[in-house]
Symmetry: C2
Subunit: 426 residues, 2 copies
C-alpha cells in the first residue's frame, strides 16, 4: 500500500471538498461507518467467498473481523435497525476501503470511495436523484465529457428467464458474462455463453437485447417491440419509463443513455442499475456506479427497506481529472519565507512570520540557524514563491521588500500593509 505525498494529498482534499459540497446541496447527511466490521457482516452480502478478497483476521479474543471493502455494507448496517430516522434516510460518506486483490491500473489494495445512499423510497425519483448527484459531482470537479449508462436488472433477469435461462446459477453466470461486454469482444462473450450451455437462439436474443442503447426515449421505443411476459419484466420496464421523466426533471438527462448491457456484477442489485464512464478515458473502467438494492437491508435488520445508491472510486476519478488537467494549481508549503540577515535578527523574523500567519498568510522562517545565502537556497529549493529579507534597516523603517523568486521583481511594503499585499499576490 502506498503513502499519500503532498501534491496528491492537496488534490485529494480539494476533491473531497468538492464532493461534500454537492452531497450537502442535496441534503445528504455525512457519516462514516466503522473501518473494522465483524466478518459475518461483511459476508452477509456476498457469502463466505468474500474472504478471499478482503483482509480479515481473528482478534485476541477470537472474534473474526475484517477491514471494510466498501461503504454500502457499513451504511446499510448502520441504518437497518434505526426506526427513529425520518425516511428517506439520505446518507453520504467518503472513506478508505481495503481489498486483497491484485493491484491493477487505477485499482489499489487500499482505495477511497465516495458513496451516497437513499433508504426508504421505492420511487425511481430516488434513483434519478442519486444519478443526478453523481452527475453533479463530476460537473463540480470540471468533468464534462462523461456518459451515464442505465439499465434495469429486474427487466434483464426476467428477459433472460424468458429466453430460456432456467437455473439461478446459469442466470448469475450469464450476468457475469454480460458484465464483461466493455472488456471483451462479442465473439468471446458468445463463446462464454455457449460454454455455459445457453442455446444458439437464446444467445442471439440476448446479444440483440444487450446491444440496445441510446437516448432513453429511443431505447424505450425499441423495447416496446418486445413481448415481455413476466410481471417483473413489466415492472422493470415501467421503472425505466418513469425514470426517464424524472431524469428530465432533474435536468441531467442529456448525460444519460439507456444501455441494456449494464448489469453490475455484484449480486445484490435488483432494479435500476447504472455506470458512468469518462469518455476521455474509459480504460479505467466506470467512474461511478450504483443502483437499487431493495433486499440488502433485511440481511442486517428486521425489515425490508427499499434502497438505492451510488459510489465512485477516488483514485479513478483522480486519473480522469489529471488527464483532463482539471486540478487547480495548488501551493505546497508556504507562500513567503522571512529570512534574517544575521542571528540577532532571527527573533524579529519569527515575530513577523507569526503576524503574517495570524493574518492567514502561510510563512516560513529559518529553523536551522543558517546564514542568509543558505536561507535563500532553502526557500528556492522548497519552491517558496516569495522572500522577505529582514535586516536592521528594515526593522528601523518598519518596511520590507517582497521579492518574487520567479520573476525576481520586488514590491515595497510597510509591516502594516505586508499581509494584505502578500494575500493579493499569486
Amino acid at each position: 500500500m502506498k503513502d499519500v505525498e503532498p501534491e496528491e494529498m492537496n488534490r485529494r482534499l480539494w476533491l473531497y471538498d468538492k464532493i461534500r459540497e454537492v452531497v450537502r446541496r442535496y441534503g445528504f447527511q455525512i457519516v462514516e461507518p466503522t473501518t473494522i466490521e465483524n466478518l459475518k457482516t461483511l459476508e452477509a452480502k456476498s457469502g463466505p467467498a468474500i474472504r478471499k478478497e478482503i483482509y480479515w483476521f481473528k482478534d485476541k479474543s477470537g472474534r473474526s473481523l475484517g477491514l471494510r471493502f466498501d461503504l454500502t455494507v457499513g451504511i446499510a448496517r448502520m441504518i437497518a435497525n434505526r426506526y427513529d430516522l425520518p425516511e428517506p434516510i439520505k446518507f453520504a460518506t467518503i472513506g478508505g476501503n481495503w481489498r486483497y486483490d491484485e493491484p491493477q491500473f487505477g485499482r489499489y489494495r487500499y482505495f477511497a470511495q465516495w458513496d451516497i445512499e437513499i433508504f426508504g423510497s421505492e420511487s425511481p425519483a430516488a434513483d434519478a436523484e442519486v444519478i443526478s448527484v453523481g452527475a453533479d459531482i463530476l460537473g463540480n470537479v470540471g468533468l464534462r465529457d462523461f456518459v451515464i449508462r442505465i439499465s434495469n436488472r429486474r427487466l434483464t433477469e426476467s428477459y433472460l428467464k424468458q429466453v430460456g435461462i432456467r437455473s439461478q446459477i446459469q442466470l448469475e453466470q450469464s450476468l457475469r458474462i454480460i458484465d464483461k461486454i466493455r472488456k471483451e469482444p462479442l465473439d468471446q462473450l458468445r463463446g462464454e455463453l455457449k460454454a455455459i450451455k445457453i442455446k444458439e437462439k437464446a444467445i442471439n436474443d440476448i446479444l440483440s437485447y444487450i446491444a440496445l442503447n441510446g437516448p432513453p426515449a429511443k431505447v424505450l421505443d425499441d423495447l416496446s417491440d418486445y413481448d415481455f411476459r413476466e410481471e417483473n419484466a413489466k415492472k422493470g420496464l415501467n421503472e425505466l419509463r418513469i425514470l426517464a421523466g424524472e431524469l428530465e426533471s432533474f435536468g441531467n438527462v442529456s448525460s444519460c443513455v439507456y444501455d441494456l448491457s449494464i448489469v453490475r456484477g455484484i449480486g445484490y442489485y435488483d432494479g435500476i442499475v447504472f455506470e458512468a464512464f469518462d469518455k476521455g478515458g474509459d480504460d479505467v473502467g466506470s467512474i461511478f456506479g450504483g443502483g437499487r438494492y431493495d433486499k440488502l437491508c433485511r440481511i442486517y435488520g428486521k425489515r425490508d427497506l427499499p434502497a438505492t445508491g451510488v459510489a465512485g472510486g477516488i483514485e479513478r476519478l483522480m486519473i480522469s481529472l489529471e488527464r483532463a488537467n482539471l486540478f487547480p494549481k495548488m501551493r505546497i508549503g508556504a507562500k513567503v519565507f522571512v529570512a534574517s540577515v544575521q542571528e540577532g535578527i532571527r527573533s524579529e523574523a519569527i515575530r513577523l512570520a507569526q503576524t503574517l500567519r495570524s493574518s492567514g498568510v502561510s510563512a516560513e522562517v529559518d529553523l536551522k540557524g543558517r546564514n542568509l545565502s543558505k536561507q535563500l537556497e532553502y526557500a528556492n529549493s522548497a519552491r517558496i514563491p516569495y522572500v522577505i529579507v529582514l535586516g536592521p534597516k528594515e526593522i528601523q523603517t518598519q518596511s520590507v521588500r517582497i521579492k518574487s523568486m520567479e520573476t525576481r521583481g520586488e514590491i515595497e511594503a510597510s509591516f502594516t500593509e505586508l499581509a494584505t499585499k502578500l494575500r493579493t499576490l499569486d
Copy 2:
C-alpha cells in the same frame, strides 16, 4: 469500534479544516502514511511488545502486517530515505489509528490524531515552532484555557543517573513511574520508586527535581542551583534556555510552563518534551504531546535525522470542545424543503430544487410520492428549517412563500430572488 453519526461527522470535518488551516499557515505539507505497515516497521520503535497492543495479522502470502497505531512511525519511514527533500522537511497529517487495548474514557480502539513533524533541524527553534503550532491549533478552535508543560528528557535522564540510577532498566522504570505523577498520589510514586530499589536519598532528590515547575524563567533560575556534572545534562539545560527565548519570539510563552515531571512514557524521545492540558478538563489526559526524537529516523533509514513533532487526539479534543461549548451550530441535512401540492407539480418542484442547489442552497424534494401533509410532516421530523409549497398559483406567478418551520413566519420571494433570499436566512 463505532460508526460516526451525522452530528459528530460535521464536527469532525469542521475540526479537521481548522487544524489544516493552522498547519498550512506554518508551511507544513499535508501527507498521509499508509494504513497498513509491515509488522517490522511498527516494531522498530518499541520492540515486539507492541504486538500485544496493535491489530496485526499475516496476509495471504504469509507477510506479517499491522494497522498503524500512530502517525509518527509512518511519516518517519516515509522521509527516512528521501535525500531529495530540502530540510527542514515539515510534514503534517490527520488520520485514523488502531490500538488493541481496553477502551477508556476519551480513548478508543479506532481513534484519529493530528500530527506534525519537523525533520532536519536540531535547533530548539524547531521545537518552539511545533509547540506554537499546537497552541495555535487549540486557539483556532476556540480553546483558551490550556497549559503546555515542557521539560527535557536529556536533562532528566542525566539527572537520574547523577543521583545514582545506574542501569538502563532502572532508568526506564523510573521514567515510567514519574510519568504517572498526574494520575497517582506522591506517596504511591515514592513507594514505586522504592520498590525498584532506588535509595531514600535519591528518591528525595528525584521528587524535588520533578516538583519544579512554573514560568520558564523561574524554573531556569531554580535549575541554576543544581550542580549538573554530565555533558548531556548541560546540553539539555542549554536547550531549555534557548527554547525559552524562542517561545518568546513565537509569542506563545504565556501558555507555556516548564514542568520537570514531564517525561513522556514512550522510549524514543530524547530531548525537549511537552504535553498540553485543557484546564477545563484534564481528566481526559493531555490534549497534545510531543517532543524531540533525533534517533528514530536511523531505524528506518541510513542516516541520523534530527526530528521533533507533536500529535493530538481528535476524540479528546472533541470532548474538550463539547464541554466548553465551542463547536459552532451546524446544519445537518437540507436548508429548505420544496413541497408540491399535487403529483403533477412534482417535476416543477424538482426543477426548482435543482436551481436552488446549483446556487449553493441545500434543498430536498419529496422522493416517496407523498401527499402535501405527509411531505410537511417529513420536513418537520427531518428538522429542515424552511419549506416552500409549490402549487399551480405559484408556478403561474413565478413566486413563492418561504415558510420558517420554527417561527411559522413567511417571506414572499420570486423564483429569481429565491436563492439569494434563502442564503441570507439563518
